[in-house]
Point group: C2
Chain length 118, copies 2
């Protein structure tokens, strides 16, 4: 049975790779990365985002200043067309991934219940 599970996972991998959400994301990602200004802007945004997430995960306090700095960076990158398109594509992709995960995790959810469900 285990083989079937992995086969099914590889099929899903292929389906994700061929999905419009993924190809769109990949194209926009490449477009941002081949544009020096956009790439640097996006990288610095990512770094700030990751630093805040790390702090949050470590239970460290995030200052008002850091929050404002992050909000400014978001506002800035969103004005860049390619980057804002990429961010939208990322959001659509992660919504798809979340939906796929919900489908796949149904069997386990049936056993343990879903704490996120009302």
């Amino acid at each position: 049975m285990a083989v079937n599970t992995y086969d099914a996972a590889y099929d899903l991998e292929k389906a994700i790779r061929n999905s419009s959400e993924y190809t769109n994301l990949k194209n926009l990602y490449d477009a941002v990365n081949s544009d020096e200004t956009a790439r640097k802007m996006f990288e610095s945004f990512r770094n700030i985002q990751m630093q805040l997430q790390e702090k949050q995960m470590m239970g460290q306090e995030i200052s008002q200043e850091e929050v404002e700095q992050a909000q400014k960076t978001v506002a800035l990158v969103q004005q860049h067309e390619k980057i804002s398109q990429l961010m939208e594509a990322e959001q659509r992709m992660s919504m798809v991934i979340a939906e796929l995960n919900q489908i796949i995790m149904k069997p386990l959810e049936e056993l343990y219940g879903n704490p996120n469900q009302q």
Copy 2:
């Protein structure tokens, strides 16, 4: 393309549901739940575990006493045959899920890289 992605996810869901890892887990879970003593023991273990995880996620400190209490509970439930079998089955299942996730997330990993990889 989106339809294919969801079809593939439903196929994987079915494969997981039919896998020996899942059916074994389900049988042991039912066995523990139909045994009053085992069920209560396992529930109290789960509660302690969840409380500690919540504290950790909220960045709250976990006292030495709480750690010891949790370790005692683990040692206790592991002596119960059905529960220890269930815990092993859970571990095997989550290893499978982790492997499946690694397969499915390959396309995104290729774009963003995997911070967990060396």
